[in-house]
């Protein structure tokens, strides 16, 4: 690993998120680890499947459960140069959700006069398989 870091090889990291946002630490920790990886210039992409799709739902409110509403932090992904966020369509549909229920995440394209571009790509299960197989490192949360 250290030799690879020195030689400047950038690996493709995919963070796979399968759990609901609140009730356990997995979602928040997974997001923080991904941001840290991105801060170290890794090529970071996010994948949301199963109950993980709830993590990106708009309008989360944690007041009643007394935890920090970290859902605002997903909007920082673009600032950390994470430009690919994949959400599995089948997982959304099985939960009665569509892309319209998700937070509108964007990144600002430095090379295109800071134009805001969408981060979220809703993909089919088959496309998700492809994305997973093309990644070098998979981390599950």
């Amino acid at each position: 690993m250290s030799e690879e870091l020195q030689s400047g090889i950038v690996k493709k990291f995919l963070y796979i998120n399968r759990r609901a946002p609140h009730g356990t630490n997995y979602a928040q920790e997974g997001l923080e680890v991904a941001l840290i990886g991105a801060a170290f210039d890794q090529d970071v992409a996010m994948a949301y499947l199963d109950d993980g799709v709830f993590q990106l739902k708009a309008g989360q409110d944690t007041k009643a459960i007394g935890t920090k509403n970290f859902s605002a932090t997903y909007r920082a992904l673009g600032d950390y140069d994470v430009k690919r966020v994949y959400v599995e369509r089948e997982s959304l549909e099985r939960r009665g959700l569509s892309e319209d229920d998700l937070m509108p995440l964007v990144y600002e394209d430095e090379d295109d006069d800071w134009e805001e571009k969408p981060l979220i790509h809703v993909v089919s299960a088959r496309e998700m398989q492809q994305i997973i197989s093309e990644s070098d490192v998979l981390l599950n949360f």
């Binding site: 941001l35 509403n69 932090t73 909007r75 920082a76 600032d79 950390y80």
Partner: protein, 110 residues
């Protein structure tokens, strides 16, 4: 750890970051800076206030690279570079400024 200011004590972690965000005041920021031998000028405050706004919006303290880029966008290229920010905060712009801003240690900082 605790921090004693004007007879009041505030809880911090082992590196001096405030345990409770709500304890923060500008007097506390000045006192933390003085403890490090640093006087907060208007230029320092620009960065500290920016970080507090960033945290309010995103619920995280940004890593230095993210901070530098965001400062550049907000305050101009002459301030959005690591040389300028390291001159203000020699212990590391994100780490040191976050401390004075009462935020936790930045996400993505060693």
């Amino acid at each position: 750890m605790t921090l004693e200011i004007n007879g009041q004590s505030f809880e911090t972690d082992e590196e001096g970051y405030l345990a409770n965000l709500s304890d923060w005041s500008s007097e506390l920021a000045e006192a933390m800076a003085q403890h490090d031998g640093c006087d907060l000028t208007e230029n320092h405050w620009e960065v500290v206030n920016f970080l507090r706004e960033y945290y309010d919006e995103y619920q995280i303290a940004p890593a230095v690279r993210v901070l530098t880029k965001a400062i550049g966008k907000r305050l101009g290229k002459d301030k959005g570079n690591s040389r300028y920010l390291y001159e203000l905060f020699p212990y590391g712009p994100a780490k040191q400024a976050c401390k004075y801003a009462g935020l936790p240690k930045p996400t993505g900082c060693v």
